[in-house]
Symmetry: none
Subunit: 209 residues, 4 copies
Amino acid sequence: MATQKSKQPAPDATRRSEKSRRAIYDAALDLVAEVGYPRTTVEGIAARAGVGKQTIYRWWSSKAEVLLEAFLDLSEQAAQQAAPGQAYAIPDTGDLAADLKAVLRMTVDQLKDPRFEAPSRALAAEGVVNEQVGRVFVAKLLEPSLQLYVDRVRAAQEAGQVRPEVDPRIALELWVSPLAQRWLQYTGPISYDYTDTLVDYALHGLAPR
Amino acid sequence: MATQKSKQPAPDATRRSEKSRRAIYDAALDLVAEVGYPRTTVEGIAARAGVGKQTIYRWWSSKAEVLLEAFLDLSEQAAQQAAPGQAYAIPDTGDLAADLKAVLRMTVDQLKDPRFEAPSRALAAEGVVNEQVGRVFVAKLLEPSLQLYVDRVRAAQEAGQVRPEVDPRIALELWVSPLAQRWLQYTGPISYDYTDTLVDYALHGLAPR
Amino acid sequence: MATQKSKQPAPDATRRSEKSRRAIYDAALDLVAEVGYPRTTVEGIAARAGVGKQTIYRWWSSKAEVLLEAFLDLSEQAAQQAAPGQAYAIPDTGDLAADLKAVLRMTVDQLKDPRFEAPSRALAAEGVVNEQVGRVFVAKLLEPSLQLYVDRVRAAQEAGQVRPEVDPRIALELWVSPLAQRWLQYTGPISYDYTDTLVDYALHGLAPR
Amino acid sequence: MATQKSKQPAPDATRRSEKSRRAIYDAALDLVAEVGYPRTTVEGIAARAGVGKQTIYRWWSSKAEVLLEAFLDLSEQAAQQAAPGQAYAIPDTGDLAADLKAVLRMTVDQLKDPRFEAPSRALAAEGVVNEQVGRVFVAKLLEPSLQLYVDRVRAAQEAGQVRPEVDPRIALELWVSPLAQRWLQYTGPISYDYTDTLVDYALHGLAPR
DNA sequence: CGTTAAGCGAGACGGTACGTCATGTCTTAAC
DNA sequence: GTTAAGACATGACGTACCGTCTCGCTTAACG
């Protein structure tokens, strides 16, 4: 590859301290949970992690990036714990409505888990205003989850429970986006009833049949 | 509503300089459009407005609040210009789908208008992470617009075009939230086709009829 | 008829509020005594005096001037109380040394009176760095006191107790200045013994006779 | 002496930038000379020195302290230049009066040297009102000079030219303090004649012999 | 004796500087 | 050669006062 004449003389990743990386992730997540994203600082993360500031700047370019990776890491760990060694998928009992409702109820619970709430809210906010972060956030965290819905809807189409001309990628937004917006923007309360209703409206439409 | 508990002995609003207020609004909106929200500073707003910093801090407590009011003011002006002296409403031609599609196409255009995009994105982001700002943003800007959909859906219910047991406040989220999320989080492109599709899916459901 | 549009349109002294002037003097002296000169502000004086800031700026041009006049006023009052209706003078018992020692002992006491110490120290300091204030301070406060020594030394010359070629204005500095410097600059302690010694040295010289 | 009780965790002096320190001294002295002490600001010193404000606040706690050290440094340099590697002393020709007159004439010149006048006047003023600064100013700058007079007077006592019971520390104030007061407080002009007269009066007294 | 123009209290205003905090870069010593 | 530590230049923060400028409201002199 071309040798960079960049500011950083291209750190050698093989020598990287794994212990520091972990400590930085933990410190970042803890601080965001404790004092909120805006009052979390690179200096604070370094101090809490027992690490020099330069060690952070060597490997990341902003606190948003640090938090993004830290949260990615957290999510992977959580996924590993939930279903070790296997890909996560939406159950397929043959009843699309029931399956969607079940998954959405789990999502409602997760959105209220404080361990997840603070950092994901922070990242979402940063992503709104910082397109680069936003795209990574979506690509690495959001899309993989949405893809599961795509798969499930496609299965339902094959089973004749969803009209064949429906675009699954758009379909899933009928329940995912309303929930996301209520959570992100405080536009309304979040409950099992609410998500159940969304699924019903989405599947059967508003118009009388 | 609630009385202030601030340190300052409550400035006398009757003596407030209208000229300064306007200049601050303009400077705030311009700066957000030019350099983005994070790099917009209170100091910068003051300098651009030709105003002392204290004049800003006397009347607002953060740059988020300044921008919120500035944007509110801008919206009111825009509304006045669009439809002077009358309340805005969604047209009712008798065809719900057509009416919704028409309005959503206008929304798509507005979301791409740079004069609106920068500040509203900034405020949305701030609102995600700062609940107080978020709630004001929703109450003052979002809800009034959403209420128009509630009214239109209710009319459709009376006309027998929407099932009577449907909750209009939830119904509208089937098209509003997907659009909002794509715009806010860069989860997908925004187009007339897309919003048209949303309306169709929402009204007729995914399931075969 | 058309008065100047100069900075100050020359305020009409006859309409001046005596009550405000007194309140300002009191507030200024109190504040200097309580929080020290540097932390005394025009705003603070106005607030404590229950007076608008403009009322201060109408009649004085700086806090130094305010304090200078306040202290002048205080001194006059004190002088009136000490010796109502008559000019103050150094006693002339015929014994120059004794007379000087007596007066200097009184000066020592006065220098330690907190009511006088704070403002006079403040004014002296301001005068060091602000020649205009310094000259007024000297002319209005210091010189009149020094003149009393000039008179007394001249009387001693006529009585043959001081050499005729001695310049009384310089002579008095032999005891006044050392005391002043110790007080102003903390170059040494101040006591009756010290001032007594100064008088002896000054009158009889250091050289053996 | 006393340990610090500051908030900052005690900066590491070994890492201190010598270049910055010098630049700060120079900037401080220049600014005081150019615009006067009251209009010299920490911000201005930092800007002129090409230094961050924090670098000043890290090592000093006020502009008075900065100037004090800057002036101390200047004095040491000047002393080094004048008499490299040796202690300064008042000459002893055997004629006390002549020696004192000679030294005082040099002092008169120095007091009129603008390079010295502005900062020393500023520090003296600050010291009048700020006892801590005053005591350092006296201990570090004034007393060492005065001690030279003490030594010379003591030598004169041993030579029988000054009465043995005279306290040299007080004796020197007979000429030093008058000169100091005239300079500090503008109580009179300063000239060779004046200082010569002071020495004569001090040595021989005012009273006829 | 009522008019009216000044001084007055109050305080908002455009500014300057404060002292603090965090940024991102750089240097040093320890490993 | 990465690391912890932390000094550095930069620049924004939010506060305190500056000195100027309106506001109504006394209040005293005059017409």
